[in-house]
Symmetry: C2
Subunit: 500 residues, 2 copies
């Protein structure tokens, strides 16, 4: 039994994101006796709770004698709300790191290895650099299909799992992402559940994009539902459109995604496990995966898309999930709005069958809804798409959307942004290329998704003949600074739109 010392824990107001940090005085007798220096791993316990934290050494004036400062994440995990005595000692050896080392040395991981690693990661026992090592040696195609299956199952096992008693088939959809404005999910959920199929959908907030489905839905209703509320909404309506982060599905994924994003490491196996683990944990039996392909989309070639589709289908099958993948056009944004509120406007226009509703968003949603209905009813894609169209045109899908929104909370009206700027074309020509990534960045610089009303409304599509003076887009923002900064970015990136 290693030595344990008692110190008083203080919240010192530092948010290190998820890694827990313990700020300790350089002259602290605990550091001295235990040999703790910056980056040492320590275990901090109070009652039955404990966290493992990395040490940062601080000057004696920062922390009073006999105290230890804790980062926000440590304070939260220990559930401390005032200065409290905590026990502190060397962190236990994390046994699963031996499995990570095994993978470093080129050996495959078995089911037990993968489960041990993922359990320890979701228990926050890994430091950020240890997570980086795990991700790095699994990226670059280094996970074989068995390992991807083990990883997916381990991620499911590490979190909560929903069950939908009385339902043999539970539907879900997922888009690989990378297309601004591609907000089909609420449309597909409304149509499919209007047809009587269960579609309890939890979505993410934006990670690197100007809006996630949860951000867009939040501009219309409450999305922070806990499990009991999700069950109630699904029982009432056969569907939901909530934020997945409020429930504990695949918690390891949240940890891994943070480091993956910081490393900009798009590990294919990791991504498949991330997506499918959330579907399995949410109780899905059938999932449609939309893989947009385009020069500035996430997937850039048909052959990459085909390989990805094959992996998704095989891993899904091994985890008891029927997966259908479709490869779609990813050459330009979908709809006109980019940013939570502007995307919500597009959604409502399609659902209400308004004249100005963006046709591309509507057609894309009907295609996806048709595929899900075909998975549910085995009626053939043509019949299924026809049915989807009828549910939309009849207003049944919109009524269903209203039921879901009202079951989750109040149906909010959409706000107007404080600042609007209309940008016109300087020269004319045929619009040949739109850089999805730069357009997304432009919308983010305007304040999206942090300011829900910020973003863009786009008036041009590929192939359009544009004349000098025609409006390209309207930029919405909540501060002059953000507006100016976004426009400066636009002026510097003259290849955002390419005409000839």
């Amino acid at each position: 039994m290693p030595n344990q010392y008692t110190l008083k824990a203080l919240d010192i107001g530092i948010n290190t994101h998820q890694e827990s940090v313990a700020y300790m005085r350089e002259d602290c007798p605990v550091c001295r006796a235990e040999g703790f220096t910056s980056n040492s791993r320590v275990k901090i316990s109070v009652g039955s709770r404990s966290v493992v934290a990395s040490v940062n050494v601080v000057d004696s004036q920062v922390i009073p004698e006999g105290h230890v400062g804790l980062s926000k994440s440590a304070i939260q995990r220990l559930a401390l709300d005032s200065v409290t005595d905590v026990m502190i000692g060397h962190a236990d050896v994390v046994a699963s790191l031996a499995s990570v080392r095994k993978k470093v040395f080129g050996n495959s991981l078995d089911e037990a290895d993968m489960q041990a690693i993922i359990t320890d990661i979701s228990d926050h026992l890994y430091s950020d650099i240890e997570i980086a090592t795990f991700l790095s040696v699994c990226a670059g195609g280094r996970l074989n299909i068995d390992e991807i299956v083990y990883l997916t199952q381990a991620m499911v096992n590490a979190g909560k799992r929903l069950h939908w008693p009385g339902h043999d088939a539970v539907f879900d959809k997922h888009c690989i992402g990378g297309l601004p404005g591609n907000r089909t999910t609420p449309l597909v959920v409304s149509i499919v559940s209007a047809a009587g199929h269960l579609m309890p959908k939890t979505s993410s907030r934006a990670i690197t994009s100007p809006a996630g489905t949860a951000d867009t839905m939040e501009s219309l209703t409450n999305v922070n539902l806990e499990l009991a509320d999700i069950r109630r909404v699904v029982n009432e309506t056969g569907a939901c459109l909530t934020w997945g982060g409020a429930v504990n599905l695949s918690p390891a994924d949240d940890v891994l995604i943070r480091i993956e994003r910081a490393l900009d490491l798009d590990g294919e196996g990791q991504m498949i496990a991330s997506v499918l683990s959330k579907k399995v944990a949410a109780g899905s039996t059938h999932t449609l995966i939309d893989i947009p392909v385009g020069p500035t989309a996430k997937v850039r070639s048909g052959s990459d898309a085909g390989r990805l589709a094959s992996l998704f289908t095989q891993v899904g099958a091994a985890c008891g999930l029927k997966v259908r993948c479709i490869i779609t056009d990813g050459s330009q944004p979908v709809g006109r709005g980019i940013g939570p509120v502007e995307e919500a406007r597009d959604l409502l226009a399609v659902l209400r069958c308004e004249d100005n509703a963006p046709v591309d968003l509507r057609d894309r949603a009907l295609l996806l809804a048709g595929h899900v209905l075909d998975m549910a009813e085995h009626c053939g894609l043509e019949v299924a798409q026809q049915k989807a169209m009828e549910l939309l045109i009849s207003g049944e899908a919109y009524r269903q959307f209203c039921r879901i929104v009202e079951s989750q909370g109040v149906f909010k009206s959409l706000p107007e942004a404080h600042y609007q700027h209309t940008e016109n074309a300087v020269l004319g020509g045929t619009l040949r290329r739109i850089d999805n990534r730069k357009l997304a960045r432009l919308a983010k610089l305007s304040g999206a998704p942090f300011s829900p009303g910020a973003g863009l409304r786009l008036y041009v599509k590929l192939g359009d003949e544009v004349n000098a003076g025609d409006t390209l887009f309207t930029l919405y923002s909540e501060s002059e600074g953000e507006r100016d900064y976004a426009l400066e970015y636009y002026r510097e990136n003259t290849d955002l739109f390419v005409f000839d």
Copy 2:
């Protein structure tokens, strides 16, 4: 040109080890406008200096409005000594990360890739998780011999390089480590330089052991010499015994070692590059590498040692360095003392040819010195060892040691530790095994190397017949707490000594 903002920089007394951290208010307009959150990478500039830092978001009471808090390393790199206006903006894209990604995807790195990566790492442009990725995908035998050569050369190029005009041959030695008390370096340097060969030796402080050569030498004289002083000492005496950390040889290595150690990733290629880059940078032409092999040493089998020796020799040759490797017994500690002062006592006893001088330390030093003399004089190992012995017995090596010590500073007398505890054998038997790692840990828990007088004096060797009540070791410490904690560890680890 991305936006730049001005904030006032504060030293907030936090030492994050080497990664620079910028502590920014959650309501800071810069965070808001630029989308900075915890872990964002920002560039902070003042005049011609700049650092790249990771953001930690803090509560508004921690940092005054219009300010940014900086970690110690950022304060030092910007050379700030008071509250100063700094410019802050998005960090530039680090182009060499594309090469790291190339390696993630299983491709070999060429000379230009490796140089770009190492230059950026030594310029502190990588975050810790990015360094972890680089190390992870290079570990596990994933560096081929060309890559190890490129890595070694890149590490040399990224730092200062010493030259010794007028000397065709410059000697060095290195031990792979893992044996407590194995303090041969000062003996070898004294003997070889007494024979008239140049041996400017810079050593490290303890990383994970109870003492490094620099720690032991520091108990006898000044070791913090800058380049000009090292040159003076070497000109005066033909040798030196200083701390390498005070000069900027292979600075990337210092960054890499910190993360490697935290990950406990013993990348073979990385280790070879680390050792040889410091030799080349120090201007060596001939290096002897001592590879102790034993069940609790760093290298555990003869075949591992052989492969390592072959890699060392080949990489050395490609970098213009003549390397000779010898494989030695690594089954038990060397000498009697463990810890800076106790090891210094052994050294002096050997140099002064005292009756109680540890024979194993003396014989080991003569073997190594013989090999270096043979490399220098091509006289054959037998003649060379005889010569080493004569230089020791005649007192010439001791007089040379005194010259070096006095040229570096004052010849200090060794202190006595405040607390001593004598530990006797409970049962008797033949001593069959000593766990080097646990013994090193015991010495560290007693306070070494932080308290130079702390450590152990060991009275038993493998094969000794020990009776109940015989003294096993004396433990030295500067506080009762450290003494008690070390002894508690000893009582719990009953396999530290194995008798039968």
